[in-house]
């Protein structure tokens, strides 16, 4: 997360490969930690029938975006945790490509709100307004896309 020094070294690729390897190791570890537990939890919730029961209540709401009630779990995971968490929850649901696209568009615009809002705060004092804007834009764009492709 620290700023990189911008002085070019004689062999820039060496440092880049080292940094890339370090980033990749950290990324794979992060992926396993985030994705596996959520994927497992989703499979268990699905098999126990609990997810379907909850989804029954959320289906009318999610229907606005052409999504099944179960997708609400993926939406929450994406908004509050991150996109990898959303992918872990969405993967076992067996969504169509249209549904994945709508979910991907909503979450592409609005995701990881807790962490990213902190970054935006460092950029501008209007960070609260921008976070509301992201969620609103994401939901609106997803709704329009669903109208077009689903």
């Amino acid at each position: 997360m620290e700023a990189r020094p911008f002085t070019p070294s004689p062999q820039p690729w060496r440092g880049a490969l080292q940094k890339g390897a370090a980033r990749s190791r950290a990324f794979v570890w992060f992926l396993l930690k985030t994705l596996l537990p959520l994927y497992l939890a989703t499979e268990v919730l699905k098999a126990s029938g609990l997810l379907a029961w909850l989804a029954g209540y959320l289906a009318p709401l999610m229907g606005w975006w052409g999504l099944p009630g179960e997708a609400a779990a993926a939406l929450c995971a994406g908004l509050f945790i991150n996109l990898y968490a959303a992918a872990a929850v969405a993967a076992p649901l067996g969504l169509s490509w249209q549904q994945v696209s709508v979910l991907g568009l909503i979450l592409g615009i609005a995701h990881s709100l807790l962490v990213e809002t902190a970054v935006v705060r460092g950029l501008t004092p209007s960070y609260k307004m921008l976070t509301v804007l992201r969620v609103g834009l994401g939901l609106a764009a997803g709704w329009l896309l669903a109208l077009v492709i689903i």
Binding site: P12, S24, A47, A87, G108, E116, L123
Partner: protein, 149 residues
């Protein structure tokens, strides 16, 4: 009771599915991470890219905003946060330009990684990325025009 008996099988299935998804994502993202580092090491994000200047101007962004914009666009808000914030301070970006940068980047950042992730699940790149770019460019350009008038 029936579901309880099926629990080991469910867990096994989940573990397999989860590991496969992790592997697929890693196969896409790891080359990207190396690519980003190489691009950064060779100063891609620091180059002036003179042809982009008029485009930036329409978005209300000066030449100083280009580096943070490219960093956010390709690296993402969190991953690129270090560059984004330190460069915005270094280049001494005015308040309005910082807002324009933030408006653009909140709707559209880490475009390669995010899109690739949902493409793995079967989503369409055009449907997911197109509206984001249009929204980001449209909103930022609208903000710039409103400021000028």
């Amino acid at each position: 009771m029936e579901t309880l008996a099926a629990l080991p099988a469910t867990l096994w299935q989940g573990l397999q599915g989860g590991l496969i998804l992790c592997l697929e994502i890693a196969l896409v993202v790891v080359p990207l991470l190396f690519g980003y580092e190489l691009a950064a090491a060779y100063g891609i994000f620091e180059r002036p890219w003179p042809r982009l200047k008029p485009l930036l101007a329409r978005l209300g962004l000066g030449p100083g905003a280009l580096m943070p914009l490219l960093a956010g666009l390709f690296l993402g808000l969190v991953y690129g946060a270090g560059i984004l914030l330190s460069l915005s301070d270094e280049q001494d970006l005015p308040r309005q330009e910082r807002l324009a940068l933030a408006v653009f980047l909140v709707t559209c950042h880490a475009v390669v990684e995010d899109t690739a992730l949902f493409m793995l699940l079967g989503g369409s790149a055009l449907a997911m990325l197109g509206p984001r770019v249009i929204l980001a460019v449209g909103l930022t350009a609208w903000l710039a025009r409103r400021r000028r008038s």
